[in-house]
Symmetry: C2
Subunit: 373 residues, 2 copies
Amino acid sequence: MNVWVWGAGSSAFGKQPAESTASLVRLAVLEALRDAEVDQVDAVYVGTCFGEPGVAQRTLHRLGIAGLPITVLENACASSTHAFHEACAALEAGRHRQVLVVGVEHLTSRFTGALPVERRDHEGRAGLGLPALYAMSAAHYQDLFGLTDAELAAVSVKNHAHGVHNDRAQHRRAVTAEEVLASRMIADPLTLLQCCAISDGAAAVVVGDRRRGARDVPVLATAFGTGAAWGHDSPRVWGFDLVAQTAARAYQAAGVGIGDVDVLEVHDAFTIGEIVTLEALGMAPEGAGGRLALDGHTVLGGPQPVNPSGGLLSRGHPLGATGVAQIFEIVRQLRGQAGPRQVAGARIGLVETMGGGAGGVDGNACVVCLLGA
Amino acid sequence: MNVWVWGAGSSAFGKQPAESTASLVRLAVLEALRDAEVDQVDAVYVGTCFGEPGVAQRTLHRLGIAGLPITVLENACASSTHAFHEACAALEAGRHRQVLVVGVEHLTSRFTGALPVERRDHEGRAGLGLPALYAMSAAHYQDLFGLTDAELAAVSVKNHAHGVHNDRAQHRRAVTAEEVLASRMIADPLTLLQCCAISDGAAAVVVGDRRRGARDVPVLATAFGTGAAWGHDSPRVWGFDLVAQTAARAYQAAGVGIGDVDVLEVHDAFTIGEIVTLEALGMAPEGAGGRLALDGHTVLGGPQPVNPSGGLLSRGHPLGATGVAQIFEIVRQLRGQAGPRQVAGARIGLVETMGGGAGGVDGNACVVCLLGA
C-alpha cells in the first residue's frame, strides 16, 4: 500500500500513577512528531479502551493539534492497532496525506476494580475473566497437543530476557523457568509471570502517503477482522481461527509469507497467547508452537525473534497503547535503531494484536500489519 | 456522494434501567435491518461514549453479525454522527458495500456520578461542567445581542410540543414558556426545562453504496471537524465557528444552501445551543437566532421546522445514540413516514451534532450531514 511510517514515539511503560492520560499522550506524540520531522498532520486516529470521553481531543488541542478530524476508536486490546489500520485506509483512500496515530491507556486510574458485567455475559457472571479464559484455553491445548508447562514458561523467560534491553519496558529483569513456574498460580496452568500486568503508557506514530527518505518505513499491508463467538468445546483454542484468517489476508495483500518475516511483535498477554498466535501466523504447525521459544527459534539471535521489545509480558500492556507500541518497536527494528535488542538485518516485520471483549470471548478482534522491505 | 440510507431503527428513548446497552442495540439494529430489508452487512460502525469496552461487539455477535469489521468510535455527543460520517467515507472509498451504523448509550447505568476530572482541566476542576459552560455562553450572548429569556424558553416550548407526536421520545408533554422559566434554575439563565436529561437509547441505520428503490434516502454530504479551544472572552459563543465551518464544507460538497433545507435536527442539548447552531448554519444572522422559534419559523407548520422529533430536549439525549437518532428522524421525514409530526413535502434534511469534551470546551467536534432530494 502507499503508506509509510514517518516517525514513532513512546512514553515509558509501567505503573505511573503520577502521570495522566494527557501527560503520557504528550510524551509519545512529541517524540513521534520530532522523529517524523513534521509539526503538522491532517488528521488523528486515537485508540484507547478506558479513556474518559474527550481526553485525547483535549490533550491534542493543548499540543496545538486542533481544528482537524480526530477519531477515537475502542477495540479492546487492539484499539490502537485498529486506529493504525483506519489511518492507513484513510491515507490509501486519499482522505488525508499525513496522519498521527496515538494509543494510550492510564490503567492505574481507570481500571480500578472489576469490570461491570453485562446481564447476558454468562461467562463474566460466572467469574470467567480473561485470565480464566486464556487458562482454560491453555489447559485444553495441553490436553490436545501435549504442550508442557516448561514450554509455556519458556515464552515468559524469552520475553523478559528481551525486555531487559528495552528502556521503555515495565519489567526489566530476567526470569528463569523455575521462577515463572513457582510464581503464584493465577488460573491453572497460568502462573503470575505468565500474565501481563496493569500498566500505563502511550505510543504514537506518524504515517504519510509518500516516502520522503530512507528512514520512512513502508507499510506493506494491514488487515482487520472480528471473530465469531468461541465455544469452549471447540477443538481450536482461543483466537486461532481469527488470527489465521486475518494474517492470510495481510500476507496476500503484501505478497509475503511467514518465511519472509524477520521480526514479530505479537499479543502475548498470556504465554499461551503467543504460542497459539505463532501457529496461526504459520510459524509452526498447529500443536507445535510450544517448541518455538524453548528451541530458540523466536529468541533474539534466533531465526525469527518474537517480541524483542519484551512483549506485553515485559514491556507491559496498557491496553489501548499496545498496538502502536508494537509498531514503534518494529519501526525501530527495521531502521536498525533497536540497540542491544536489534534483530540483525531485519527487513520485514509483523505486528499482531488481539482484542478480546472485556467480559468474554465473543467480541474478538484482530489486526495484523506487515511493514518493511 | 454515492451513499444512500437503506433503513433506520430506534429504541424508545428515556430512563430505562431495566434495559441494557445490549438490549437497546438489539431493538435498534433489528428494526434497521428489517426496514432496510437486508439481513447482512459488510461492516459496522458504532458510536458510543460511556459504553464499556467490547459490549457493542458482543451484542452484534449475538445477533449473528460476526466475523466482519466492527469499528467503535467515541466522540462525545457526536459519537454516532461521527460513526455515520466514517461509514459514508468507507462506502465512498469502496471499502464496503453495505454498512450498519449504530449509536447507543445506557447512561443510567454508566453515568452514575461526576466525571473524573483531568489534572489539567482547569474548567472542570472549577466545577464548570457543560450546563455551566452553556449557561455562561447564553449569558454572554444575552449581553451581546439582547437575547431574551422568552426567546430561550421558546426553543424548549417548541421542541416539547414536537416531541408529543414522537412515540420514541423521553418527554412527551407540552410545556408553556411560563413553566420553562419557572422550572428550577440549573445554571443562570438556563432552567431545568432548558437542559436535556439523563437518557438511555439506541438507534441504527443501514447505509449502502447504491440506490435500490425510492425508499432509499440519498446522503448528499457529511462533514466532520474539530474546533480549537474556546476562550471565555471570545465574542463568538460556544460552537459558533466550528458549526459554521463544518456546515460550509457540507453545503459546498452537497451543492445546497440553508435555503434549500426543509427540515433540521440539530444539537439542542441546551436551548442556547439550538439558537447559536441555527445562526451558524446560516438560518439567521448572528444575534438574530432567538426569534426563529418565537416567530414560528422553526415550528412544525412553519417554513423550516427544527427538531420535529422533539430534539435532545424532548426526545432525549443518550449521548452516543443521538446522532443516529437524528438521522433516523430525517430519514422518516424525507420518506413521508413521520405521521403527526410530518414536515409536508420535505425534500432535503440536515443533521448537526456537536460533541463537546466532557470536561471542557476544547475537544469540540461537529458533524453536519445533508440528506435527501
